[in-house]
Symmetry: C2
Subunit: 669 residues, 2 copies
């Protein structure tokens, strides 16, 4: 008799291995962190004896469930807002709350709250993506769950990083610190193709390769994302990230709702895992991912909950159920994704999709002891049919509930017995979580009365890139602009001429947010107005820093078409203050030494000013890029245009304007 | 202080009334079977004192949930078979099991098992449709649940009735017996437009009106049903049932997946309730019902589970959740069917859809005390947000689980306290249910090896109408057929001529089922073959009875196109015996005194026979109709064609044939 730590005996054992062996009654022998043997009860009990034996008669013994994509810490924002348009939800609630509350403590506490829910729902492995990911890792390791913890990289400032470089440094440090942990697999997560530049995506791919860690990314979640990618890059997201090397190394692609057969083949050929989020994709009206086709092509598809803020729970039983159901209606075929297949996606195939198929996802000797026991001796699981060997899978997928999970073991450690959590002080956790929620509740109550909330309810906003290098100067000898335009290193891409009528709404707002209503009158060659466009822009306070004599601006800006007359917005916003700026602008989009710049030559019409101004601007996304562009902008201003240092200015026009009850101007129709 | 029986105090009270009043903390006062008062805790406790007070602090008090459409007794067939094509599921498993097992005891036991689940999931009212519906009523009344119990009417023989008249008699008797019961509302349920004749539907509508009871019917569940209705009646199901009066009186329409805007308006104008079954419609790949449009038009839409055989549970929390989610993806709008609306559909609006809105569905003084209490002090309901008054609905719909339901009261009686059922002996119920399931398991194991199971896996079957009046006679003076065809009371609708090559497969089958492979060669005017058609027909033993000298046949027949050669089926079925019949058939479809008959004049080619035969046939659906048609058929045979009584025969050709290893015949390609 071989001595082991644990014997689980008497239940129906679903191994979920390649052969899909089922033992009824079966048994599992566990030693330390791994499974020693799986088989029939008689076979196992004849060969092994254990210090602890758990009787699982009438119960199902199966692998711990793999949740392929989540944002654990968002458990603290469960139910913060629901049934809203994506932009309203994100910009009106989630992002303001994240800006104000997400710090290391928040991330740790939220991950722990989520961990408690994962365990109670029978999940033993997860793939997370969030900020301060080291705190997620710390919470999971303490609780005893297996996690792929992916640090988010964004081209916008994030709660844990003011710049891209900062989050890359955090990520690299995090990976070095946690790599090799028995439970935690650190990973890098460029948030999405549309929130990262090509360079950033390539660098993330290099990090993944350098440290041999997974790369976790959102891909083709919405139709809009795919259309924008076609517009901006001439191709959908999947070929773009393929080209940038993202798919080359242990890639986890969340969502993939809008992918075609060619893209599915690309994902398969690169061994990328797809993480399918049924509830989230329904709730945000993103669509139904073509998982049946993916599975037919041999893609490893995991099932996932996404974050609790858009779900609103981490119950994988709901997701498995829904994955099986949605595939049927999406393909018009009730035999699509049968229960067995759905349960495989939540166990072995899901683990493979997350690139941890070698250690978990099935009950096999040598794999880690990630095991759950489901009690089916209750009303909603009665009766049990067994004429079809697949009935037991149907019972788990279509009838069983997460609350039927009785015991949970991860890495050989019991995390829950008889529905009592063993590694978490639940009462304290719930209390602390509610305390943070109460503070967020108060914050949102105040915030909801504010300007952003009013804005998003009347317009469809989009976030704009938000790092910009800028140089500005008084420039009254406007004829000298020709020196620049005729310069050998300059080529003109586009020239335009317009008059801009800006109305700024200012508020007694704690965020110091501003709304600009801008009417652009496009001017033709003979001075006639050839077109009019009105836009609303919402700007949070701009962070500036001097940068090689230029200024680096980072601002969160959101813009939307203004489809109502100015008067409407004036009455609607009831701003504390209004300011008007009218100007005539000549604009050139140029390439200087191959780098794109915008040159604005502005004549201020209102409030009257004797000065004209020159702006040199360029978009950027990192400190090193900004440094290079600032040096080029300085060349333009100082070397080429010979503008005096003392003519440099650093104000925004609106800040020089005074409060004004609307001067006469063309009213928009 | 007014004395009442019960006070429920301290919870968040969701009244779901017209004003959507929420009291936090609130209280409800209950006397006998009804609610006396609902309001703030302070107000209620100041005015009422009770013999029992239940502290609901930190919990949600709301109306008991209404499950708008189910087949309770099918709980015993939960998980019997899953992930199958509808025809395979229905004809391979459900119908054979129903034929073999559904009796009064089965229906009673199944309803009780389902009732236990309903209560544990917070449901207090349901609308059921099944056979032996008095047994469902008996189980629900014993357990203490409120039910609309609808007796099924079909044009096919059913487990509880061999003929339509028998089930109408059962229904009328059931309605008389149960009408006025405090919990049970008896109702009539013509199963569906396609399983009932116009006459039957009209009679059901009359019964509903005569007794002032609801009428419950499946409508437009599948696209195929709508297409067939257009083919057969020149219109979709909704206008057809409208024309027949079905919508005139308290109608409950289950499914309505495939209805257009005009039909939605028709349903609204007639005050018909729609019963939406999200899981069932997904699982059987029927589609997603346009409930957002229905709600916009003011149709009362209830949410429902359908039967456990196609769900596989009776968990309304799953359905409410899914109703809210599916509407979003179906309309591409994440604001569609918000949580509040979904919960209304499961309470007040659902009750209105079931025409019981006057007594239940909201917490209001005077309504019946149908109340549930949900405990949200757990991980998956933490944290709670309250900045938005609708957050509490989102919590119930998106986060809470049915297992959070703590107490359930129906009609003033506690059915569950602290998740313990008070009116059901659960252990005994589960044991008896599993015992029946074990018997069905054995039956299906045997059945699965049989012919029907083999058939359905290779062809798409449809059920055929199954009552037929038939007269048959030797008829060798074939020229006398002209007397009939030229008769004043006869008009010829259609004439055809073909040769039929029938191969019967016979089995050592307990059901005595037969499969016929028939090749029809259509013969043109010059004797040439103008077309060939091959069909498979599966026939269960035919019940015959002598009927005014004719024969009334009732048989369950299923037919399908045979798209493979005869040889394939021969090898596939490995029948115990094969019989061949070849015949030449002249067929006339005629109207005699306005009634449709088929006249077949058959020359048997194989096995050789010296006799020719005449068949007079007509479809029927009830005993009274059969009686009339039999008298007309007798006139045709005896009076017009003057066929001698002794020439009448009562065998089927196949029964006169002997076992034959295939004679030479044209092989199908």
């Amino acid at each position: 008799m071989q001595q082991v730590d644990q014997l689980l005996i008497g239940g129906t054992v679903l191994t979920m291995n390649e052969a899909l062996d089922v033992y009824e009654p079966g048994a599992v022998a566990v030693q330390d962190d791994h499974i020693v043997a799986v088989g029939s009860m008689n076979g196992i009990t004849a060969a092994y004896e254990a210090s602890e034996t758990v009787d699982c008669t009438g119960q199902i013994i199966m692998p711990g469930i793999v949740n392929g994509h989540t944002h654990l810490s968002m458990a603290l924002m469960r139910g913060l807002s629901d049934d809203l348009r994506l932009d309203v939800w994100l910009m009106g609630y989630i992002m303001p709350a994240e800006r104000a509350f997400v710090d290391e403590e928040f991330v740790y506490l939220g991950a722990k709250l989520a961990a408690a829910e994962l365990i109670m729902c029978g999940t033993t492995s997860f793939a997370d993506m969030y900020y301060y990911e080291a705190e997620v890792a710390r919470a999971a390791a303490e609780v005893g769950l297996r996690g792929i913890c992916s640090q988010t990289i964004l081209k916008f400032p994030a709660p844990d990083a003011e710049s891209y470089e900062q989050s890359m440094a955090y990520a690299e440090n995090f990976i070095q610190e946690w790599k090799g942990h028995p439970l935690i697999i650190p990973a890098i997560a460029p948030h999405a193709p549309y929130t990262n530049t090509d360079d950033m995506l390539q660098q993330c791919a290099e990090i993944a390769k350098k440290y041999d860690v997974p790369l976790h990314i959102h891909v083709s979640e919405t139709r809009q994302e795919v259309e924008d990618s076609r517009d901006n890059y001439g191709m959908p997201p999947v070929p773009r990230i393929k080209k940038l090397g993202i798919l080359d190394h242990k890639c986890l692609c969340a969502h993939c709702v809008h992918v075609d057969s060619g893209e599915i083949r690309t994902l398969r050929n690169h061994g990328a895992g797809v993480l399918h989020n049924p509830t989230s994709n329904l709730k945000l009206a993103s669509g139904i991912a073509p998982i049946q086709e993916m599975l037919e092509h041999g893609v490893n598809v995991a099932i996932a909950t996404d974050g609790s803020a858009s779900n609103n729970d981490l119950d994988m039983f709901t997701e498995i159920h829904l994955a099986a159901l949605l595939a049927k209606v999406a393909t018009n075929d009730p035999t699509a994704v049968p229960a067995k297949q759905a349960l495989l996606m939540a166990t072995r195939i899901g683990a493979q999709a997350c690139h941890i198929g070698d250690i978990t996802g099935s009950l096999e000797a040598g794999k880690r002891a990630d095991i759950i026991i489901i009690d089916i001796r209750n009303v909603h699981n009665t009766p049990t049919y067994r004429h079809d060997p697949d009935s037991v899978y149907a019972q788990v997928v279509y009838a069983a509930k997460s609350t039927d999970v009785k015991h949970v073991m991860c890495n050989g450690q019991w995390l829950m017995r008889d529905r009592q959590l063993l590694t978490i002080n639940l009462d304290e956790l719930l209390e602390r979580s509610q305390a943070i929620a109460n503070r967020i509740d108060d914050f949102i109550r105040e915030y909801s009365s504010n300007i952003m909330s009013k804005l998003i309810s009347v317009a469809s906003f989009q976030q704009q890139e938000s790092f910009e290098i800028q140089l500005k100067a008084r420039f009254n000898e406007t004829e000298r602009i020709e020196v620049l335009l005729n310069h050998d290193d300059v080529s003109i891409v586009k020239h335009s001429h317009y008059r801009q009528y800006d109305t700024y709404f200012l508020f007694n707002d704690p965020d110091d947010a501003r709304v600009r209503y801008r009417e652009d009158d496009f001017i033709g060659e003979n001075g006639e107005v050839t077109g009019v466009r009105s836009r609303l822009t919402y700007t949070l306070p701009t962070k500036e820093r001097e940068f090689d004599k230029a200024i680096l601006l980072s601002h969160s800006q959101f813009y939307a078409p203004a489809d109502r007359p100015l008067r409407f917005y004036r009455e609607y916003f009831k701003a504390a203050e209004e300011r008007e700026i009218h100007k005539e602008r000549l604009r050139w989009q140029i390439l200087y030494k191959g780098v794109q710049f915008y040159i604005n030559l502005d004549t201020i019409l209102h409030p009257e000013s004797k000065n004209k101004y020159l702006e040199v601007k360029s978009r950027t996304w990192s400190l090193s890029d900004a440094e290079y562009k600032a040096s080029l902008a300085t060349e333009i201003i100082s070397t080429i245009l010979n503008i005096d240092e003392q003519d440099r200015v650093a104000f925004e026009y609106v800040d020089s304007a005074t409060s004004s009850p609307h001067p006469s101007r063309p009213e928009t129709t």
